[in-house]
């Protein structure tokens, strides 16, 4: 589903954000990318979300090599990847319904179809009665659920979650993680979660990678990695719990 082959990303000539990273994320995975700040997590997210290009190496998304694709082709792939952000990034001047409808308006779906899809997604994230409300009227957890509904609007095969619970309290965090797991199981959406909290990975990811200084420290099944951490970076993250 997502393959990185020997990917290096360099900013401003000599600052390596990612170095020789190779990994595969399979269909149906809940894949955790964990590391402290500066480990290269955000760069990884941008690469998978097609918001930046690798300096060297290859990226394959949904079976397509993305090197040298046109903007239109990139947008087509982006519609198959929903993104959920730490800061929710909702449109404040649009209602909940308007936010969920936004990605569908971008591809010019007709109004009736958009309305039906909004109602369906609002039901999924349990916000049906909040459709006419504005983001400013919602709690953090509700905002993130709107963002998740919006990310799912175009029926993506992949959902990228960038620190999806960092702005939330522990109770709401559990609620959001439960919802993400449900989306993975019910809709078959492959989930990639980027986080600095190893707890999140432990809670829902079946596979994980630990990034350290732009390199892969270790990678594998979550239970294996956490049971027997090999790298100091992993141990350090586990110590923080």
């Amino acid at each position: 589903m997502i393959t990185l082959r020997d990917v290096t990303k360099t900013y401003n000539n000599d600052e390596h954000a990612l170095k020789n990273v190779s990994l595969t994320i399979n269909e149906g995975d809940i894949f955790g990318i964990v590391g402290k700040s500066g480990a290269g997590k955000s760069t990884m997210l941008k690469l998978i979300g097609l918001l930046t290009e690798p300096t060297t190496g290859e990226i394959e998304l949904l079976g397509k090599n993305v090197a040298g694709i046109t903007a239109a082709q990139a947008n087509e792939i982006k519609r198959n990847i929903g993104t959920v952000f730490q800061g929710f990034n909702l449109l404040m001047q649009r209602s909940v319904a308007g936010n969920i409808a936004f990605p569908l308006e971008l591809v010019k779906q007709d109004k009736a179809a958009i309305q039906a899809r909004c109602a369906e997604l609002a039901g999924l994230v349990d916000l049906s009665e909040k459709l006419p409300a504005y983001p400013a009227q919602l709690s953090g957890g509700q905002k993130q659920r709107v963002a998740i509904a919006r990310a799912l609007a175009t029926n993506p095969k992949i959902m990228l979650c960038d620190e999806p619970t960092s702005a939330l309290d522990s109770f709401t965090t559990k609620e959001i993680l439960r919802l993400i797991k449900e989306i993975n199981q019910k809709l078959g959406v492959t989930i990639v979660i980027i986080t600095h909290e190893i707890n999140i990975v432990k809670a829902i990811c079946n596979r994980m990678v630990v990034l350290n200084g732009g390199r892969i420290a270790e990678m594998g099944d979550t239970s294996e990695v956490l049971k027997n951490p090999q790298h100091d970076a992993t141990k350090l993250l586990l110590d923080g719990i």
Binding site: L51, I77, T83, N89, L91, R94, P103, L106, Y134, T154
Partner: protein
Amino acid sequence: MANLWNVFLDFRFILWEGVLETLYMSFVSVTLAYAIGLPLGIWLFVSYPDGLMPNRFVNKILGGLINTVRSVPFLIMVIILIPFTRMIAGTAIGSTAAIVPLVIASAPFVARMVEATMNEMDAGVIDAAKSMGATNYQIITKVMIPESIPSIIRGFSITAIMMISFSAMAGAVGAGGLGRIAIRYGYQRWQSDVMILSVILIVIIVALVQFLFNTIAAKLDKRLV
């Protein structure tokens, strides 16, 4: 006070005409200034190195042009523009002619205000739109402009009020409106009561414009509930 009321009654038609001319000059100017300044401000914002369509050359040229025009004092601008005003309006005197320098003086101001508004916007929403595969055009028309509508409307009232005061200044060099009445009667004919009435009317117009646009902006602002 009774005296002022009598003067008001005597001059009511002239003053009413002044009010209409002032409103005409201000609102036509501010509308045209936005027609030019809004796209200019957006262009400036998106051309920044980290913007949607980075272009250092365009950014520098636009920024320089805006700063240059904004540095010219308004009265001097009116005079410099006389030949251009004649070309556009057919005359350099009167309310319609005054609109030309008013627009040119305020469009760069509007552009800077729009740029500042866009700068304040949460960059995350633009990232979100990008991640969904929105085109630059869609990001501008469906994210940047709608998200900044309340601020744009507040800016509109600031500019409209600036236009009211600038149009009074333009009155000194032949434009119509309340400014012209104040100068003609108050300064040239020593009828200070007419000048006072003109100023009172300008104050009332400014207060009403401010109230009206603040109300509209508050109604449209969904960020604070």
